[in-house]
Amino acid sequence: MSSTPILEMRGINKSFGAVQVLHSVDFRVYAGEVMALVGDNGAGKSTLVKCVAGIYPMDSGEILFEGAPVHIHGPRDASALGIEIVYQDLALCDNLDIVQNMFLGRENLTSVRTLDEGTMERRARQTLAGLSVRTVKSVRQVVSELSGGQRQTTAIAKAVLWNNRVVLLDEPTAALGVAQTDQVLDLVRRLATNGLGVVLISHNMNDVMKVADRITALYLGKVAAEVKTSEITHAQVVELITAGRTGNIGLKPAEAAQSA
């Protein structure tokens, strides 16, 4: 495994008004690995993702891409680096169809600079077929007509459509059925095998233990621990999430208590 993380965040602080949500968070992802990001509701997982995405400006801290500092001021900066995000709220436009959503902001154009619907539709169908989406009648279906799971799959397809280096998935299986969840976990593994850095946010510890190489646990906006999945048990992860520490791993007792 390469020693330089493909994506690294150092000392990230982020407040909303008077409320500090992230406390000097260090976080890294290695190429070819799945990094699980776990933590209780409100721990700050989505906020961290949105800082990488360029949606929220950070108060302080730096982001390194392949070891070099980068400045991400907006979603376009992130995607230019090859960072794709599946948001918890999916961020789809209900009034647009699947293809239009998947290519939003990066439409294929024809030689006269009009929308190249044919190319986009074909690529969308190819990607969805790869995700084994069986229930969508047409890639031209409007998103408002889709079921929750179909939407989630659309959002995932939107992220893996591009030639990425890092993919962050914020609870991508929350609305999915058993078979579809397995599909997505498979995909997550496959993305890593293909050399991407993958971040998986999930509340399902079985899934996390199954696909993640490493786990970063957030506790009230602080990193409680970053551990290899092979070196920790299910129960210990749960303890890290709920108490910020387990045995001699995690925040110092005083720190954990003070945060709480």
Binding site: I85, Q100, E107, A129, V136, K137, V139, E145, W162, N163
Partner: protein, 485 residues
């Protein structure tokens, strides 16, 4: 207005999924409707599903039009006469044009209450220019000329900062006409009006998008303000005639020759038919989802039939008195067709249009896709007011001049009504330019038909128009609540 070149590199097609995608046969993927498989039955069922899901499209407006046509033609003798029916397009034109502009603003879930008075003000600029040899400077008293220039310069700065280049070009052009006194030329004077609209719209959009004032308040304030400025422009009670200016007057009061009327029909309807048919066949050949050829041909046939009937009808002399002959397609119909086609292409074939729909559908999602939503807002207001200004020019042509209350009264409300009756949603994200055409016709036929009933007072006009608007808004609201989320 087009987007700047995307900065993101062109990605390779779905690299990580290549293996699996190849393994899964297209049929296995299960896009049963795709891959050119749409037949008539599926298309029809899809249509029914969409209607039941609330995507009613043009249906209510067309139903309303048919209903009104049937009612008025059976209850009055005059309604179906050539002289009366030929009036409809010219009566509807200002409402349609202002309404087409409003569609852009409504698509974002915004409102522009000032479109009417802005249209009046813009047309006043034109009227003063043609009446005073292009010299607005000596005519506009009390610092009004200076204020005019300041507005244009501010709009220019905003447009440049937002990289809205078509807006920049338009405003610079208008500014040149304004300061060099070349607006005695009628075409240039008309363009001065349009670019005045552009400037007003871009400033309105700036106040909404960058300052953050709700559009209802911004445009309510400007609705009042432009009325005052217009009075100041003209001097209270005054009115500047435009009747003796041929080009301006021609828009609403003269017709295209019968032969050229046919040419216009063939170019527009034939072009539409050829384009949609070509698209359908080509997409089918490429295994893409496509509309069945039968539906495309059917739609074209209906349009061609309606168009041919209208032109045939309009090409007959409709002057009941002996003397000179009145016949042919009114010029304003050509103007509306051009704007309709241009704006429809802009909305449906360009990234700008796509991003506008996205911003109206889910602004946060659009932002996360890298779309500059405030910039889209400013552009939408700019386009809206530009089209409103064209509507103002047409209104001046119809009224024979620009009075101090031009574009006031119900002008704006009827234009909003037109868009909404035509099927544009007030909640944003849904609507088309053609909605304003259909809705504008509905809104115009009501007073046209009612005035032929001597025993029905004018008061009914408002009640009935209001009723139609309510029905349209109810359809809109209900269709929204029927959606899954």
């Amino acid at each position: 207005m087009t987007e700047p070149t995307p900065t993101t590199p062109t990605p390779a097609p779905a690299p990580v999924l290549a293996n699996t995608a190849a393994a899964a046969a297209p049929t296995e993927a299960g896009f049963s409707v795709d891959a050119g498989a749409t037949n008539l039955k599926e298309a029809f069922l899809g249509y029914v599903t969409r209607i039941r899901g609330g995507e009613v499209g043009a249906l209510p407006a067309v139903a309303g039009l048919v209903l009104l046509l049937v009612v008025f033609s059976t209850t009055t003798k005059i309604f179906l006469t050539r002289g009366n029916l030929a009036n409809l397009p010219t009566q509807a034109a200002p409402t349609i044009l202002i309404g087409m502009g409003l569609v852009f603003v409504l698509l974002l879930g915004e409102i522009d209450l000032s479109a009417g008075t802005a249209a009046g003000l813009a047309s006043a600029g034109m009227a003063i220019a043609v009446n005073f040899h292009g010299n607005l400077q000596t005519q506009l008293k009390g610092g009004m000329f200076g204020a005019y220039i300041v507005v244009m310069v501010l709009a220019l700065i905003v447009a440049a900062r937002e990289r809205l280049w078509p807006g920049v070009i338009a405003i610079v052009f208008g500014g040149v006409v304004l300061v060099t006194h070349i607006g005695s030329n009628q075409v240039l004077a008309i363009l001065l009006a349009v670019t005045t609209g552009t400037s007003i719209g871009i400033l309105t959009g700036f106040l909404r998008a960058r300052v953050g004032i709700p559009s209802f308040v911004v445009t309510l304030a400007l609705f009042l303000a432009w009325q005052g400025v217009l009075i100041q422009f003209l001097g209270a009670g005054n009115s500047f005639p435009t009747q003796r200016f041929k080009t301006i007057n021609a828009l609403e009061n003269t017709n295209i020759s019968p032969l050229w009327s046919w040419v216009v029909l063939i170019v527009f309807v034939g072009g539409y038919g050829a384009f949609t048919l070509y698209t359908s066949i080509r997409r089918r050949a490429q295994q893409l989802s496509a509309q069945p050829v039968s539906i495309v041909v059917g739609r074209f046939a209906i349009l061609a039939l309606l168009g041919a009937f209208s032109v045939f009808f309009l090409n007959k002399n409709r002057n009941p008195n002996k003397g000179h002959v009145i016949r042919g397609l009114p010029w304003v119909v050509l103007l509306i067709l051009i704007v309709l086609v241009a704006m429809t292409l802009l909305l449906s074939k360009t990234t700008f249009g796509r991003h506008l729909y996205a911003s109206g559908g889910n602004a946060e999602a659009a932002r996360r896709a890298g779309i500059d939503v405030p910039r889209m807002r400013i552009a939408a207001f700019g386009i809206s007011s530009s089209l409103a200004a064209i509507g103002g020019v047409v209104l001046a042509s119809k009224q024979g001049g620009v009075p101090a209350d031009a574009g006031g009264g119900n002008t704006l409300l009827f234009a909003v009504g037109a868009a909404v009756v035509g099927g544009t949603s007030l909640f944003g994200g849904r609507g088309r330019v053609r909605d304003a055409v259909l809705g504008g016709l509905v809104i115009t036929i009501i007073p046209n038909g009612l005035q032929l009933h001597p025993n029905v007072g004018a008061s009914y006009q408002y009640v009935i128009t209001g009723g139609f608007l309510l029905v349209a808004a109810a359809v809109d609201a209900l269709s929204r609540s029927r959606r899954p989320t």
